[in-house]
């Protein structure tokens, strides 16, 4: 094997070999080390440092929830009130360094590798083989990492946004008794996420895929003392298993028909398969089933809103910025397959578009600030799937990147709001809901930094020009329009509908979703930050901006949200307004997804620049209209508090109850499953068949055979002698008569 690498290195001499890229293995190993260290520290959970006055001394009294919380802890301890005592973990200081530290180191290494890649412009992926993992006959799977432009984008997002969220967590989770456990899970998540994006073949990717699912489960149920949280974790895990079944089947089919599972091998041999054949469509659709689970698309999206039960930074990292985008990454990674199957690609786009509008409308009537963002995430993921579905893999990835900026900012901003609300309610020992927008209102005077930054993110997600979301969302819509104009998708046929018509419908749906997005995001901002304060007169004095360690990460994300669009400025805009170099991401990703994109756009005429500019105009008008509509229609000063809220009527009630999807799933799947499990699987199969027939049955059989045998043992020597003689005679007879 050593020889083999040497030979291949000599034969190909990849431009990245010998550079810092050789250290790619260290990228996932650093967070893994963090996981081990923090995990070991968390085992020492029986000991808590009592709220340490030295820690709070570092912060000015007005500056910190920590200071506030720990001084409060002292009061509580004096009062002998264990329930509210802050129990800071003994090792919190070490964990605060190790947890974010490994991520920052990883990010710096990623920057170094990116720099090496940017200077060498490798056309082929850089593959590092470490050992043979599954050498079984024809199935040769190596533990190998693949570094190319696509994984580079994901690495930078995962480690960069991940590092910021880790730093934010230091402030947000500091007073949690499970602080080291939290960071060990978070580090483990980043390890698996990096395995997912770095894996050089589907099985290694799948290990990461399952690992992030595990960490998602662990972190959703982080506060598992509440059964609701534990149930939410289970729900996420089970729905993801359904999706993973599809992914596995896709891998089996790939191996059965192509015989390889590494990306290079599959992309080389994918051409042997007949384009548009049922086989490749089936492979793609099964793979997409996996994506619907991981990326919360219809029909498997219901776990993501419940996943908000986890700590807010977790929602930002796992359930907005990174893990849920794994499905988009998988399709971009498998672009060589999806581009061969117009039907599968159109399915992806249709599911994405339907999810985008469906989830966006639910977001209109949610009161929990995190639930709104959860549905917003589902909706934006739908956008990304529209992008990769229509073969605009770069646009999908572009939106993935910008979304990770502004959605992380929104989630962390909501985290800072919840942090303030929670601290206020904590002070007054109130049991009010700290996440319900009906209990907020008017927070802009107390949280000015959060207020400004969240407005920036809101405008970005709505698609206001020059902010990151504008460019990425617009590029997806423009791509859909261009594909409808002419592509292999437009000439294909999807369930009897001509692809071109379908793409125009998807385009319209995307515009509608953009309109709804602008409305619900403005609604969130209005109800949270504007109007009168509904938190409670007693609580108002305790509302405050979070400590600098949290706000600083918000500021960095805010900068990224504003300038993220510069990653891929479209030509139609740079021609009119010279903002900077255009199509950076398109050129960057071209070696990976270029051939697949070209296959889909084959022979299509360019959409005229004037048309594209008009489309951009339409999108902007729609975004502005959404915001104006929301401001005009919604009156934050007329919102009742949560306690006084009157239930909605009619269609609004249906939307507020999320179209009763959870209830319908309960009735049609969950309850029947329980019934079958209890009445058939448990009572008949387990109790009857397994316990009764197999376990107790075999025991009874052995006992009765033993009883028969014991009757032969009379203990009477005479009878033994008779048996002996008869036996000898029988043997002699048998030998002589033979």
């Amino acid at each position: 094997m050593f020889l083999q690498t040497a030979v291949s290195a000599a034969a190909v001499a990849h431009p990245l070999s010998g550079t810092i890229a050789e250290w790619v293995w260290l990228l996932p190993v650093l967070p893994l080390a963090g996981f081990v260290i923090n995990g070991l520290l968390s085992l020492n959970s029986a000991h808590f440092g009592a709220a340490d006055p030295n820690i709070s001394d570092h912060h000015p009294p007005e500056g910190g929830a920590e200071a506030l919380a720990s001084s409060h802890a002292e009061e509580a301890e004096e009062a002998g009130d264990d329930h509210h005592a802050v129990r800071r973990h003994r090792w919190a200081g070490v964990v605060s360094v190790v947890g974010p530290g490994v991520l920052i180191l990883s990010f710096l290494l990623a920057l170094g590798i990116w720099q090496a890649m940017a200077t060498t412009h490798p056309e082929a992926p850089f593959i590092q083989r470490y050992f043979s993992w599954m050498p079984v006959g024809d199935l040769q799977i190596d533990a190998a990492l693949q570094l190319d432009q696509l994984s580079m984008v994901m690495i930078l997002v995962v480690t960069g946004v991940g590092a910021l969220i880790h730093v934010f967590s230091v402030g947000y989770m500091r007073d949690d008794p499970g602080y080291p456990r939290y960071f060990s899970y978070l580090n483990l998540f980043v390890f698996f996420m990096l395995m997912l994006v770095l894996g050089a073949n589907y099985p290694v990717l799948f290990v990461g895929w399952e690992g992030v699912g595990l960490c998602s489960y662990l972190l959703i149920g982080f506060w598992f003392n509440d059964k609701v949280n534990a149930d939410a974790g289970k729900k996420a895990f089970i729905l993801n298993r359904i999706g993973d079944f599809g992914f596995l089947v896709a891998m089996f089919m790939l191996f059965a028909n192509i015989g390889v599972l590494d990306f290079i091998g599959v992309s080389a041999k994918a051409g042997d398969l007949v384009a548009g054949s049922p086989l490749i469509t089936a492979i793609c659709l099964f793979m997409f089933l996996g994506c619907t689970g991981k990326s919360a698309q219809i029909p498997l999206y219901v776990w993501l809103p419940d996943a908000m039960a986890g700590p807010t930074p977790v929602s930002a990292l796992i359930h907005a910025a990174t893990m849920v985008t794994a499905g988009v990454y998988l399709i971009a990674r498998s672009s060589f397959l999806f581009s061969l199957s117009p039907v599968a690609s159109l399915t992806v786009a249709v599911v994405g578009a339907v999810t985008a509008i469906f989830a966006a409308t639910i977001g209109l009537k949610q009161w929990d600030i995190k639930k709104v963002l959860a549905y917003s995430t589902i909706s934006q993921l739908g956008y990304m799937f529209v992008g990769v579905g229509v073969g605009a893999y770069v646009s999908g990835m572009f939106h993935l990147v910008t979304h990770s900026f502004f959605k992380a900012l929104l989630f962390l901003g909501s985290g800072s709001v919840i942090h303030a609300m929670h601290a206020a309610y904590h002070q007054t020992h109130s049991a009010e809901d700290a996440q319900d927008m009906r209990n907020m209102g008017g927070l802009k005077q107390y949280l000015p930094i959060t207020f400004v930054l969240m407005w920036i993110a809101t405008l970005a997600i709505s698609g206001i020009p020059l902010l990151s979301g504008f460019f990425s969302k617009d590029e997806i819509l423009a791509s859909v329009f261009a594909r409808a104009h002419g592509s292999t998708l437009a000439s294909a046929n999807w369930l009897g509908i001509p692809g071109g018509t379908l793409l125009y419908v998807i385009y319209g749906t995307g515009l509608a979703a953009a309109f709804v997005t602008a409305i619900y995001m403005t609604r969130l901002m209005l109800y949270t930050f504007h109007g009168p304060v509904r938190t409670g007169t007693q609580e108002e004095q305790y509302l405050h901006e979070p400590p600098w360690i949290m706000t600083s990460t918000l500021v960095i994300l805010g900068i990224l949200t504003v300038f993220g669009g510069w990653l891929n400025l479209p030509e139609v805009i740079t021609d009119v307004v010279p903002l900077g170099p255009r199509d950076l991401l398109t050129h960057w990703l071209d070696p990976v997804v270029g051939p697949a994109t070209a296959r889909i756009t084959a022979g299509a005429a360019q959409v005229p620049a004037a048309t594209e500019q008009a489309l951009i105009g339409v999108a902007v008008v729609i975004a502005v209209a959404g915001i104006v509509f929301a401001i005009g229609r919604l009156k934050p000063d007329r919102v009742p508090r949560k306690a006084d809220a009157i239930p909605e009527e009619g269609f609004e009630r249906v939307v507020a109850n999320k179209y009763y999807v959870d209830e319908a799933l309960d009735r049609t799947i969950v309850i029947p499953t329980y019934a079958v499990s209890r009445n058939f699987l448990w009572r008949i199969v387990d109790n009857g068949l397994i316990d009764g027939l197999f376990v107790n049955g075999s025991a009874a059989l052995a006992r009765s055979l033993g009883w028969v045998g014991s009757r032969l043992q009379t203990g009477n020597v005479g009878i033994y002698a008779w048996v002996l003689v008869v036996g000898v005679l029988a043997m002699l007879g048998a030998f002589t008569l033979r």
Partner: protein
């Protein structure tokens, strides 16, 4: 000559077997077993008369083993008698299942 010898030994052996089967007294059964061994010894001697001396070597072996067996067997029977005051095998069935 061989046939008559074998007939005699066979008769002796069968007397021994039947004695083992029908008697209840451990001592008598024991003596019947000795009779069977003696019958076998006679067979060996008879064969050695016609086929070489190997049979006589076996006889010595068998006598040695049967002497050892007699010593052990008698010791067991005496031990049983001391315990139960009887050597009637119908009363000795401790190994009944």
């Amino acid at each position: 000559m061989l046939a008559e010898s074998l007939a005699l030994t066979a008769a002796l052996f069968i007397i021994g077997v039947v004695g083992v089967l029908i008697h209840r007294n451990a001592i008598i059964i024991f003596m019947c077993v000795e009779l069977m061994l003696t019958a076998v010894n006679l067979t060996f001697v008879a064969f050695s008369r016609f086929y070489g001396t190997a049979g006589q070597v076996f006889v010595v072996f068998v006598m040695t083993v049967s002497a050892a067996e007699a010593a052990v067997g008698l010791a067991i029977i005496i031990a049983i008698f001391r315990h139960r005051q009887t050597v009637d095998l119908r009363n000795i069935n401790l190994l009944k299942g």
